[in-house]
Symmetry: C2
Subunit: 263 residues, 2 copies
């Protein structure tokens, strides 16, 4: 079976350190292709460039809004060491640079050092007992990306009820709706896979300036538990901090983005 995420993030080599890809509209938010989706396409090109299998830290800066359609990605391997390889990439569309990225890659199977977990995942009913928030919303109002994803929440978010809670934070189970299991490349996309936290403070447009994802472990199969929260809105900019735990309860990714409210 070919999954949507794999089809839509596929890259084709177009030269030495050059790749072609096609952004589909299936991951569109109301503002166009989801930024995490575009960064996952960049990650695919970087993975063809570096001799390590997993992105452990990947930063993308979002220069211009992408549109569905053809893109090209230029990559450059900066350094390969024993444990890490570092590379940069820029994704362009119509000759304009849209996303530029910098990442370090490793083999997470070789990360055998100390483990010490000081924070548990947030409490949420098991997915089978939790609420499908999309089931209650007007399907005609939903952007295409909502059709790619399943969510399960403990209670409906305030914005969905027309009453933003004032607390820009969400906790939700999340997975691909076509059954595609999570892996490190999916963990580049997923931190951007929820609606903006600022919906809960009455905002409706937020655009990512920069997002950094740390992939901390290869996820187990099944649902992921995601928490995303904003604590500081300053001068129209805000952070979104994300943690993702896998179905075994292991933290598998942390991410932070700096985003800007409209206006």
């Amino acid at each position: 079976m070919t999954f949507e995420f794999d089809t839509d993030t596929a890259v084709e080599r177009a030269g030495e350190d050059r790749f072609a890809a096609r952004l589909t509209d299936r991951w569109n938010t109301p503002a166009g292709p989801n930024g995490g989706y575009v960064l996952a396409v960049v990650a695919r090109a970087l993975l063809e460039t570096v001799p390590k299998p997993h992105p452990i830290s990947l930063t993308g800066h979002f220069l211009l809004p992408p549109a569905p359609g053809d893109v090209e990605i230029a990559t450059e391997l900066i350094r390969t060491g024993h444990r890490h390889a570092t590379a940069r990439a820029t994704l362009s569309q119509g000759g304009k640079e849209v996303v530029t990225a910098l990442g370090t890659f490793a083999d997470l199977a070789e990360a055998k050092g100390r483990d010490l977990i000081l924070e548990e995942p947030p409490a949420l009913p098991a997915p089978e007992e939790a609420i499908d928030p999309l089931g209650t919303l007007d399907q005609a109002m939903m952007p295409p990306i909502a059709g790619r994803m399943d969510y399960r929440v403990g209670e409906l978010p305030g914005f969905a009820l027309g009453e933003p809670s004032g607390r820009p934070e969400f906790v939700s189970w999340i997975r691909f709706s076509d059954g595609r299991e999570p892996d490190p490349v999916a963990l580049i996309f997923l931190p951007d896979g929820m609606v903006p936290t600022v919906f809960e403070i009455g905002e409706i447009v937020s655009s990512t300036v920069e997002m950094t994802v740390h992939v901390r472990a290869v996820p187990a199969e099944g649902w992921l538990l995601m928490r995303v929260r904003t604590r500081f809105v300053i001068g129209g900019y805000h952070e979104e901090d994300v943690e993702l735990w896998d179905s075994s309860g292991s933290l598998v990714a942390q991410a932070r983005q700096l985003a800007m409210l409209a206006g």
Copy 2:
């Protein structure tokens, strides 16, 4: 008056998009020049390259341990838009790439959008009533960087008493000891200006893989309040999450680094 931080982060233009600098040993940790200090040198070169005055998001990947001495920095302006400019840089020493960085710059004075603060700074006695932790430590054991900085804490950290607390978290006032006031470039360095959190879990060596700093506001003069904490040590890797508040109580920076324990 010329301050140590300004002298030691100065860059000299050596060509188009090329700069020369000299890392001093004054910011040395036991493992060599502090990573945040080196990233601040990179920030200075980037600020000569972009038409915006403040780094708002800067990511550095640490490829090789730097040593005191001459370095060169190559920069590249990627895009200048109305609000943001994005550029990359690589700092090399002896022909080897040591730190590579990617950042977005803006004029924070033009960030006039919404403010909403959902988390207060941690409670700590005023600096005049707090404890100088360096006063109690053996000066001969201290690396040069400790001579550049003043700290004030509510209680002595466990590791300094030979009894790591098991909680990899510090809260401290912090400032330059020569009276240099904080500014956005200093905020690139300062998130790395405390001893590693993992000292509190019995570790003594941690090296930065990647650090991202979000400068959220131009800081007021005076002490900064810093909180740094680690929640997840996984396979020998750990994050350090930093918040910095200025003397007026405003959040002025957030940072996260991915670091690796020795071994």
